[in-house]
């Protein structure tokens, strides 16, 4: 018997960059990618705009940005030369699952030219080589840390919707309230951290400026964290000691790689990834009973709540300000204390998954100090991770077991 993926997809075209070999004029790996993709489009007749999935060794978001396309499926598996065969496998699975109909697998590597200009194959330039064109045109202007970028989104939101720094400060305050119910939170109490324990909106407003209008209490911490989750088939799930939490929907997208390319500073691709996740789940925002939202900054949480359909545009902050997202509120958000006050090590996607699992499996009390209060009665949860500079998003709709 053939396997499930048997003949579920085919390779329908192949092309190369305009010139390959030992090139006299050094080229960047990016140029090799783009030329090959253009030639592939020309030879197959498939417009670049109809590419739905992008698979490449670490390059995918930069390729999409350079091409100006918004994929529904992104894979950057980079485990050496065999990565591209794996990309084919992953693309088959995505096509079989009905998520995409077209998958671009792309390679560009300037092994020879790199001796002159650097940047052999990695999407990360630097290391003395040429910058990517996006970096070339932005690196001179004093931006570095995440807050230096995200502050621009907050200013645009304030300009467009009339929101204030005080509006966003409520998000930090309420999220801290959740952390005071979580003994594992880095900001659980003054005993755990000198700046831990409850905070006021005024304290958020008056804390140290990092990148106006972001004060430090509008920003997530950078701590240490490790975590893991197990995903299994229904059959295996039934054989385990732990309760399943079902993945009802999933979606992904991206708007840009470099913030220079962020068309609307008050919106992210979470609207697209959430739409895919809700559609897969056959559910909508009104079916959600709680949310776990990557809160790298208060502005991230507010914009994402809007993108997930949990609040109208410009009103995301009201979920926190009027208490709905707070402990005891009607729509709990970031019940672990968030990246703002629980833990954020740099990439916060895993803590979102762990807390969503705990909430929907009824195991959200850590019990270290025997404290109660963080467990909610929610049976459904929308989870949204954001990557880069409000660049990429992944959304999950999770539901508790019956």
């Amino acid at each position: 018997m053939p396997g499930t993926l048997y003949k579920s997809a085919a390779i329908v075209g192949a092309a190369e960059a305009n010139q390959i070999g030992f090139l006299k004029e050094p080229v960047t790996a990016l140029q090799l990618h783009i030329e090959a993709i253009k030639n592939l489009s020309d030879s197959t007749g498939l417009p670049i705009s109809r590419i739905e999935g992008v698979f490449s060794t670490g390059w995918s978001s930069e390729l999409c940005e350079h091409l100006g396309i918004r994929p529904k499926y992104i894979d950057t598996t980079a485990v050496g030369g065999c990565s591209f065969e794996m990309h084919v496998h992953h693309a088959m699975a995505a096509i079989h699952a009905g998520i995409i109909d077209t998958a671009l697998i792309s390679h560009g590597e300037n092994g020879h030219s790199a001796r002159a200009i650097g940047g052999r194959g990695a999407a990360n330039y630097g290391r003395g080589g040429v910058n990517s064109p996006g970096q070339e045109m932005t690196m001179a202007y004093g931006l570095g840390s995440a807050p230096s970028n995200y502050a621009h989104a907050m200013v645009r939101h304030m300009h467009r919707f009339g929101t204030t720094t005080e509006d966003f400060a409520h998000i930090a305050k309420v999220t801290r309230d959740w952390a005071t119910l979580n003994p594992r939170a880095a900001m659980y109490s003054k005993d755990v951290h000198p700046f831990g324990g409850p905070i006021t909106v005024e304290q958020v407003e008056e804390s140290r400026l990092i990148a106006w209008p972001l004060t430090i209490l509008h920003c997530c911490m950078v701590a240490d964290h490790g975590g893991a989750v197990l995903v299994a088939s229904p059959k295996v799930a039934a054989s385990l000691n732990t309760k399943p939490v079902w993945i009802a929907g999933a979606g992904e997208s991206m708007g840009h790689s470099n913030m220079l390319e962020m068309e609307d500073f008050t919106a992210t691709s979470a609207s697209v990834s959430a739409d895919a996740a809700y559609t897969m789940a056959g559910m909508g925002p009104s079916d959600m009973e709680m949310a776990l939202i990557y809160d790298s900054f208060t502005i991230t949480a507010a914009i994402t709540a809007e993108m997930l359909g949990l609040a109208p545009r410009g009103e995301g902050h009201l979920l926190w300000k009027d208490g709905r997202a707070a402990p005891g509120g009607s729509f709990p958000i970031n019940t672990n204390g968030g990246g703002l006050s629980f833990n954020h090590s740099g990439m916060y996607g895993m803590p979102l998954l762990i807390e969503a699992y705990r909430q929907l499996s009824g195991t959200a009390e850590d019990g270290i100090n025997g404290d109660k209060g963080k467990q909610t009665s929610a049976r459904t949860c929308v989870v949204n991770g954001t990557g880069g500079s409000l660049s990429t998003t992944g959304t999950l709709v999770l539901v508790a077991d019956d």
Binding site: G68, N131, P133, M137, G142, G144, H152, W212
Partner: protein, 138 residues
């Protein structure tokens, strides 16, 4: 005094921009098929996927799209805080990043989104003259 901030390495396809900058001109990539300007410079038009691209001289005029005031920075920029960064809507379309000149970083509320700006070039070394944008009216 020599230029102390980080300077980009010139790419393989952006020479016309940097040559223009040395001559005080803001050169922009435009697609000959859909006539749209894009920024940053591409190998392919991000709007219609044509590779028939050309460089045109931009007006050097634009408006402030959004901004922030940097109070924490790294490297040579750390000595300059606070300073204002901004994204500029180009008159020709698309957007550039800059350290914004002609504004007071201690009064962020007084900086106006939509304010008119003009480009100016600062020599960083013999090859690279960097564009910066300055508010020319409130």
């Amino acid at each position: 005094m020599s230029y102390k901030f980080p300077v980009p390495t010139q790419g393989t396809h952006t020479r016309p921009f940097w040559e223009g900058a040395k001559a005080g001109k803001l050169m922009l990539p435009r697609c000959q098929d859909c006539n749209r300007v894009h920024w940053y410079p591409r190998f392919i038009c991000p709007h219609c996927h044509s590779t028939n691209l050309e460089w045109i001289q931009g007006s050097g005029e634009g408006t402030v799209h959004t901004y922030a005031v940097q109070h924490m920075a790294f490297g040579p920029w750390a000595e300059e805080v606070p300073y204002v960064t901004a994204y500029i809507d180009l008159k020709e379309g698309d957007r550039m990043l800059t350290v914004l000149r002609g504004v007071d970083p201690s009064k962020p509320e007084e900086i106006r989104i939509g304010a008119h700006v003009k480009v100016e070039f600062e020599p960083a070394n013999d090859d690279m003259h960097l564009p910066f944008w300055r508010v020319v009216e409130g």
